[in-house]
C-alpha cells in the first residue's frame, strides 16, 4: 500500500503545538506514513515530538478564518492541539491523520518497519510458550500431555499450536470436544499449582443449546482433570441467568446432571461494550477541565470502572481461593473465553504464584495468557475512549487487567518485581506500538503475517539491560505467600498514574518514583563495593 496517496500535505511550517506539561511551541509539522513529527524551531532547543499515528484515537478540527486548530486525542490519554496556518493545509493534515491512524492492513503497520539499531530480527521472539511451560513443569508429565492437535489451527483458530491436556485424552477426542465449545476453545491447562498439584483450565462455553446437547468427550475430558479428587469448580464469568440465556443462541453451561463432579460458580463480569462505555465515561470525567469538580467522586462512581476492577479482583480471588485454599482444580470460562476468562486466570496466577510476580515471570504470563491464548488485541484495542467511530469489538479488557495488577501492586508494595512504569508502558503498547507483540487477534494470524520474523518482540525489548532497571520494583522482596487483595471499594483507588497521567501531579509522582529507584540502586551498589 502506498501511504503517499493519503498525504496531500506532508510539511507545514509555523505550526503551534500545545500539549500538556509543556509551554506552547512553534515549529514544523510533518506527516509520514506512520508518524506525526513536530520539531521545535526555537534556536538552541531541539524539542521534538514523534507520535505514532496509530496512537491517535480521535481528530477534531476547527477552522477559523484562514487557519485552523486540530485537536488530537491519543490512546495514551494525551490531548494535543496543533494550530495550523492555512485552511487547506489544516484540512489535509487532519484528513491524513484520520486515514492513516486507522488503516486496517496489519502488514503495513509500523512494527513491520521498525528497525532499531540495538535489536536484531534474529533475536529470539518471545519469552514463553506452552511447550516451554510444559517442559519446565516436570510434575505435570505423568497426568498431562502436550498435544499438537492444533498445529495447523484447524481445531481451534484462536489457540496456539500446542496445548496441555489430560494424558488420557487423545487428539480425536479433542477434536470432538472442540466442536462442542464455542470457537473450538476446548478446556486446556493454563496453570499448575505446585503446592498442591491443582490446575486452572480455561475454555469457552459449551454449545449445549436449547435442547441441552451433551458431549461425552467433553465430560470425559473434565472427568480426567479431577481424576482422583472429589470435585472441581467451574467459574463461569456470567451470571447464571446470562448462562441460561446463552442456550437460546446455541451456547450454554455445564449442567449438574452431565458434570456431576463439577460445581459451577457464577460471577457476573461486565464485558464488551459495557466495559468500553465505562472507560469512555471515566476518561471523560478525567478530562473534564472545568473547575467545578464537586461531583468528581460521583462521576467516578457513575463510570463504574472501579466496580469492574472490584469484580475482576474478587472473581480472581475466588478462583485463587478454590485452588490454593480449597485445593480443587478449576475450569474458567465465560462465553468466548478470550476476555474475562483470561483476565481472571491471569490475576489468580499473580495472587498465587510467586514465579509470575517477577518482571520476566509477569511478561511471560502475559504472553501465555493473552498473546498466545488468543485475546483479540486488534479488535479490542482498535480504539480508545475518544474515538467518534462506531464501536465495534473494542473493549478495554487488557487495560482493566493492568489496572487490577496496579491495585495489587499498590496493596502489596513489596511483592511484585516490576514497577508501575511497566504497567503504564504495557497499557500504551497494547493500543499503539513499535513492536509486533500485540498485533493481530491470534497466534494463527500472527503466523500468517510473519510477525515473529518481521517485527521485534516487546517483551524481549523490555528485558534489555537498559530497560530492565527502569521496569523493576526497587523494593521487591519475593514472598512465597499468596497475596490476597482487599477488594472493598475503600481499598481500591483510581489508577491515577494512568488515567491522570498527563497532569503535573502524575509527573511529579513519576519523578519521585524514579528518584526512589535511583536511590535504592545507588545504596545497593555502594553496599556491595
Amino acid at each position: 500500500m502506498e501511504f503517499s496517496e493519503h498525504i496531500k500535505t506532508a510539511n507545514v511550517e509555523d505550526v503551534v503545538l500545545r500539549q500538556p506539561l509543556h509551554p506552547p511551541s512553534r515549529g514544523t509539522l510533518c506527516i509520514t506514513g506512520h508518524h506525526l513529527l513536530f520539531s521545535d524551531r526555537e534556536e538552541g532547543s531541539s524539542r521534538q515530538l514523534l507520535l505514532l499515528l496509530r496512537n491517535i484515537d480521535a481528530v477534531e478540527k476547527r477552522i477559523s478564518g484562514s487557519s485552523g486548530t486540530i485537536t488530537i486525542k491519543c490512546k495514551d490519554m494525551r490531548v494535543l492541539h496543533l494550530d495550523i496556518p492555512g485552511m487547506e493545509q489544516c484540512l489535509n493534515i487532519a484528513h491524513s491523520i484520520e486515514t492513516l491512524s486507522c488503516l486496517d492492513g496489519v502488514a503495513a503497520m509500523y512494527p513491520f518497519f521498525y528497525r532499531p539499531s540495538d535489536l536484531s530480527l534474529q533475536n529470539q521472539w518471545g519469552l514463553s510458550s506452552t511447550e516451554k511451560y510444559y517442559s519446565q513443569m516436570k510434575e505435570l508429565h505423568n497426568r498431562w500431555r502436550l498435544s499438537s492437535v492444533n498445529r495447523d489451527y484447524s481445531v481451534c483458530p484462536s489457540y496456539p499450536p500446542a496445548v496441555i491436556i489430560p494424558q488420557n485424552t487423545d487428539d480425536d477426542m479433542l477434536k470432538k470436544v472442540a466442536k462442542f465449545r464455542q470457537g473450538g476453545r476446548f478446556p486446556a491447562l493454563c496453570y499448575y499449582h505446585r503446592k498442591n498439584g491443582m490446575v486452572i483450565l480455561r475454555s469457552s462455553q459449551p454449545l449445549t443449546g436449547a435442547n441441552r446437547k451433551r458431549c461425552r468427550e467433553d465430560e470425559h475430558l473434565l472427568q480426567a482433570v479431577i481424576d482422583g479428587s472429589d470435585k472441581g469448580y467451574i467459574i463461569d464469568t456470567r451470571s447464571s441467568q446470562q448462562a441460561q440465556q446463552a442456550r437460546m443462541t446455541g451456547g450454554g453451561f455445564e449442567s449438574k446432571s452431565s458434570y456431576s463432579h463439577w460445581k459451577r460458580l457464577h460471577r457476573q463480569m461486565e464485558r464488551g461494550k459495557a466495559l468500553q462505555e465505562s472507560l469512555i465515561k471515566l476518561v471523560e470525567a478525567c478530562g473534564d477541565e472545568s473547575h467545578n469538580m464537586d461531583r468528581w467522586l460521583s462521576k467516578l462512581e457513575n463510570s463504574k470502572w472501579l466496580s469492574h476492577v472490584q469484580t475482576a479482583l474478587s472473581t480472581a480471588g475466588l478462583l485463587a481461593e478454590c485452588v490454593e485454599r480449597d485445593g480443587h482444580s478449576v475450569l474458567v470460562h465465560g462465553s468466548e473465553g478470550t476476555d474475562s476468562t483470561l483476565l481472571i486466570s491471569t490475576l489468580a496466577q499473580l495472587i498465587m504464584d510467586p514465579c509470575c510476580r517477577t518482571l520476566e515471570g509477569f511478561l511471560a504470563l502475559l504472553e501465555r495468557e493473552w498473546v498466545q491464548a488468543g485475546h483479540p488485541f486488534q479488535q479490542r484495542c482498535a480504539h480508545f475512549a475518544y474515538s467518534h467511530a462506531r464501536l465495534q469489538q473494542e473493549s478495554p479488557v487488557f487495560l482493566l487487567m493492568l489496572d487490577c495488577v496496579w491495585q495489587l501492586w499498590r496493596q502489596f508494595p513489596l511483592a511484585l518485581g516490576f514497577s508501575e512504569a511497566l504497567l503504564l508502558r504495557l497499557a500504551t503498547e497494547a493500543y499503539a506500538s513499535d513492536y509486533g507483540t500485540f498485533l493481530c487477534n491470534s497466534h494463527q494470524e500472527r503466523c500468517a503475517l510473519g510477525v515473529t520474523e518481521n517485527t521485534h518482540c516487546l517483551f524481549q525489548a523490555l528485558l534489555r539491560p537498559t530497560e530492565r532497571d527502569y521496569y523493576s520494583n526497587p523494593l521487591y522482596e519475593p514472598t512465597e505467600l499468596a497475596i490476597w487483595p482487599s477488594v472493598h471499594p475503600q481499598s481500591l483507588q483510581l489508577w491515577r498514574g494512568f488515567f491522570l497521567r498527563w497532569t503535573q501531579q502524575a509527573r511529579q509522582l513519576e519523578e519521585a518514583q524514579e528518584e526512589i529507584r535511583n536511590m535504592v540502586i545507588e545504596w545497593g551498589k555502594m553496599a556491595l563495593s
Binding site: 469538580m293 462512581e301 513489596l414 471499594p489 491522570l500 528518584e515 545507588e522 545504596w523
Partner: protein, 607 residues
C-alpha cells in the same frame, strides 16, 4: 496474614506493651499487660466485647487510670483492645436490667478516633454499675476532680521533648530579628493577649503602644504577628484574628497603619489579607462585633478562602464516621464519601494554604486570619509554612511547626478535643487538628521523598492527641500551660518520638532545602486517608505493615551505610567532588544524617 491479635491494636500505642505469648494468655489473661510507670489498676472484670467484625467475644477487661484493655479468653478469636481512656468521648449504659435478647445489657463507648466499643455484661445483680462508674470517672477525670494521666505518668525518656521548640532559636533560624522585624516581650505575662505566646515578632517600626492599640481592635487581642519570613525575598506570613469592625463599621487608624507597616517592611505595593472564612460568614460576624478589613485599608487586598467553621467540620467528620464504622459503605462508596464533604473541606484548606504559599514565594507579604485566628488560621499558616520551608518537613522541624503554629499560638486543644471532660456534646469540639494532619498526609502522598517522617508519625500524633499521656496537646494556650506547670510536670510527646526516631523516618527522604511544594488540591488528586479513618476495620487493611516496615528499616540501614561510605570517600578525596559541590548547606541539623543526606539527591545513577 497478620495475626488477629494485633489487628485491633493501634500501631502507635503498642510500643510499650510487651508482646504476649499465647501460652501465658491462657493462664492468666491480664497478667501480661505491661503497664506504664505510674499507671495503676482500677478494676478488672469478665465481660463480652461485641466486636463488629467477629461478633461477641468473651474475655476480660482491665481498666487502669490510663487505659481500657480487653483480651479475649477464647484463643480461637484472639481479640485485643488497648484504648487509652483519653480516647473515650462518651460512655453510656446500653439496655436495662429487663432488656431481652442476648448481650443487650452493657456499655456503649463512643471514641474520638473513629470507632465505638460495645461491651455486654450479665444482667444479674447490677453487674455493670461498678464498671460504669469507674470508667466514667477515670475516662473523664477533669469532670471528677481527678488529674489527667499526663500528671501521673512516671515515664522517663533519654530526650526531653520540651526542648524541641525554643521560640528565640526558631526566630533566629528564620533570620530574625532584622532591620524590619523586631522581637517583643510585651506579652511576657500574657497581659497583651492571654492566648498568645510570650515572644512575638512584630514590625520594627511599631511601638509597644501601637501594639496595645491594635490589640484593642482585634478579637481577643490577637494582633497581627509574624509567623514566618522568606529568607530571600523577605515576604512574611502574619497571623491574627478578625478586626472588631462591628455593625457600625468601626475603623481603627492604628490597625490600618500597623498593617501598612507590615507591607512596608517588604516594600511591596500591596498587602494580601487572606480571610479563611466564606464571605457571608465574615459579614455575619459583624453582628457579633467582628468583621473584616474593608476599603479603608489602603494598599491591601482581601481574599476570602471559603473554609467552613468548626461546626461544619465536626459534622462532616461525623458523617464520614457513619459510613466507615462499624460497617463500611459498600454499594455507593464514592458518592457516600462525596456526601460527607470531608475531602472537599480538605481540598479547600489545602488550596487556601497553596495560595498563601504562592503569594509569599512571589515576594508578597500576607496576613491570615479567620474569626479568632486559632483554627483555620493555624491550618493555613502551618500548611503554607510546610510548603515553603523544607525545615518543617524534617522530623524535628515538623515538631517545631506544631509547637509553634498550633500549641504556642493557642489552638484550643482542650476545647476542641475535650481532654478528660465528660461533656461529649460540647459544641466547641472539632477535628480541626485532625484535618490539618490529613492535609499533611495528602502532601506526603503527593511528595513521597520530600518528608523526613513517615505515616507512622502522623498516626502517633493523632493517637496522642487524645491519649492524655503526654502534656503536648493539653490546654488551650500557653498561659494555661504555664499555670498548670505542663512543662515541668508532664512528659512531652516528642520525648517519646525522639527517643525512638528511626521508626518514624521515611527512608526515601531527599532534602531539597530550596524547594517549595505545591500539592495539587484537586478532588481528583486527593484520597481518603484509609489507613487512619478506616484502620479499625480488619477487612480494609492492606498488606500487613510489618514486612513493609521491616523492609523500610533495612533500607534505612542501607542508606546510613551508604551515607557513611560517601562521607569516607569525601574525606579521602581532598578536592571536593564537583558532583557534590552544589548541594546547599542545611539550615539546621535536623537528623543524625542530615548533612550527607543533603547531597545524595544530586547524584544521578546512570541507567
Amino acid at each position: 496474614m497478620a495475626s488477629p491479635v494485633s489487628v485491633y491494636n493501634s500501631n502507635a500505642l503498642d510500643t510499650h506493651i510487651s508482646s504476649t505469648s499465647r501460652e501465658s494468655l491462657k493462664m492468666e489473661l491480664l497478667a501480661d499487660v505491661s503497664l506504664l510507670p505510674g499507671e495503676e489498676r482500677i478494676t478488672d472484670k469478665d465481660i463480652i466485647y461485641i466486636c463488629p467484625f467477629s461478633g461477641a467475644v468473651k474475655g476480660k477487661v482491665l481498666i487502669t487510670n490510663y487505659r481500657l484493655y480487653f483480651k479475649s479468653s477464647d484463643s480461637d478469636v484472639a481479640v485485643m483492645l488497648d484504648v487509652p481512656l483519653g480516647t473515650i468521648s462518651r460512655v453510656e449504659k446500653m439496655g436495662g436490667a429487663s432488656s431481652r435478647g442476648e448481650n443487650s445489657y452493657g456499655l456503649d463507648i463512643t471514641c474520638k478516633d473513629m470507632r465505638n466499643l460495645r461491651f455486654a455484661l450479665k444482667q444479674e445483680g447490677h453487674s455493670r454499675r461498678d464498671i460504669f462508674d469507674l470508667l466514667f470517672k477515670h475516662a473523664f477525670p477533669l469532670s471528677h476532680g481527678l488529674p489527667l494521666f499526663a500528671y501521673l505518668t512516671q515515664e522517663k525518656y533519654e530526650e526531653n521533648g520540651w526542648n524541641v521548640y525554643k521560640p528565640m532559636e526558631e526566630f533566629r533560624r528564620q533570620g530574625l530579628p532584622n532591620n524590619k522585624w523586631r522581637i517583643t516581650f510585651i506579652n511576657k505575662n500574657y497581659e497583651l493577649c492571654d492566648t498568645y505566646p510570650t515572644v512575638l515578632a512584630v514590625p520594627f517600626k511599631s511601638k509597644e503602644e501601637d501594639l496595645r492599640r491594635v490589640a484593642a481592635f482585634r478579637s481577643r487581642a490577637r494582633i497581627p504577628v509574624l509567623s514566618w519570613i522568606h529568607r530571600e525575598n523577605q515576604a512574611v506570613i502574619v497571623r491574627c484574628s478578625q478586626p472588631l469592625v462591628g455593625m457600625s463599621g468601626k475603623r481603627n487608624k492604628d490597625d490600618e497603619r500597623y498593617l501598612d507597616m507590615i507591607r512596608e517592611a517588604n516594600d511591596t505595593t500591596k498587602l494580601t489579607i487572606y480571610d479563611a472564612r466564606p464571605n457571608v460568614n465574615a459579614v455575619a460576624n459583624k453582628a457579633t462585633g467582628g468583621g473584616y478589613e474593608g476599603d479603608e485599608y489602603q494598599n491591601a487586598e482581601l481574599i476570602f478562602l471559603d473554609i467552613q467553621n468548626i461546626h461544619v467540620m465536626r459534622e462532616s467528620l461525623k458523617k464520614l464516621k457513619d459510613i466507615v464504622y462499624p460497617n463500611v459503605e459498600e454499594s455507593h462508596w464514592l458518592s457516600s464519601l462525596e456526601s460527607t464533604h470531608w475531602l472537599e473541606h480538605v481540598k479547600l484548606v489545602l488550596s487556601g494554604a497553596i495560595q498563601v504559599a504562592d503569594k509569599v514565594s512571589s515576594g508578597n507579604s500576607v496576613v491570615v486570619h479567620c474569626s479568632d485566628g486559632w483554627d483555620r488560621t493555624a491550618q493555613l499558616t502551618s500548611l503554607a509554612m510546610l510548603m515553603l520551608d523544607s525545615h518543617y518537613r524534617t522530623l524535628r522541624g515538623f515538631q517545631v511547626l506544631i509547637e509553634k503554629e498550633w500549641i504556642s499560638f493557642g489552638h484550643k486543644f482542650a476545647s476542641r478535643i475535650g481532654h478528660g471532660d465528660k461533656n461529649h456534646a460540647d459544641q466547641d469540639r472539632s477535628p480541626i487538628f485532625v484535618q490539618f494532619i490529613d492535609c499533611v498526609w495528602q502532601m506526603t502522598k503527593q511528595f513521597p521523598t520530600a518528608f523526613e517522617f513517615n505515616e507512622r508519625l502522623l498516626l502517633t500524633i493523632l493517637d496522642h492527641l487524645y491519649s492524655c499521656r503526654f502534656g503536648t496537646f493539653l490546654y488551650n494556650c500557653e498561659s494555661a500551660r504555664d499555670q498548670h506547670d505542663v512543662r515541668s510536670k508532664t512528659v512531652s510527646l516528642w520525648s517519646l518520638v525522639n527517643s525512638k526516631m528511626d521508626i518514624y523516618l521515611n527512608p526515601f527522604y531527599t532534602p531539597e532545602s530550596g524547594r517549595v511544594l505545591y500539592p495539587v488540591a484537586s478532588m481528583r488528586h486527593l484520597e481518603l486517608w484509609v489507613t487512619y479513618y478506616i484502620r479499625w476495620n480488619p477487612r480494609i487493611r492492606q498488606q500487613q505493615q510489618s514486612p513493609v516496615e521491616q523492609r523500610y528499616k533495612e533500607l534505612l540501614a542501607l542508606r546510613d551505610e551508604y551515607l557513611k561510605k560517601l562521607e569516607e570517600l569525601q574525606l579521602s578525596d581532598s578536592s571536593p567532588s564537583s558532583r557534590l559541590a552544589n548541594s546547599p548547606t542545611p539550615n539546621t541539623p535536623s537528623s543524625t544524617s542530615s548533612t550527607p543526606s543533603q547531597q545524595y539527591t544530586h547524584l544521578q545513577t546512570p541507567l
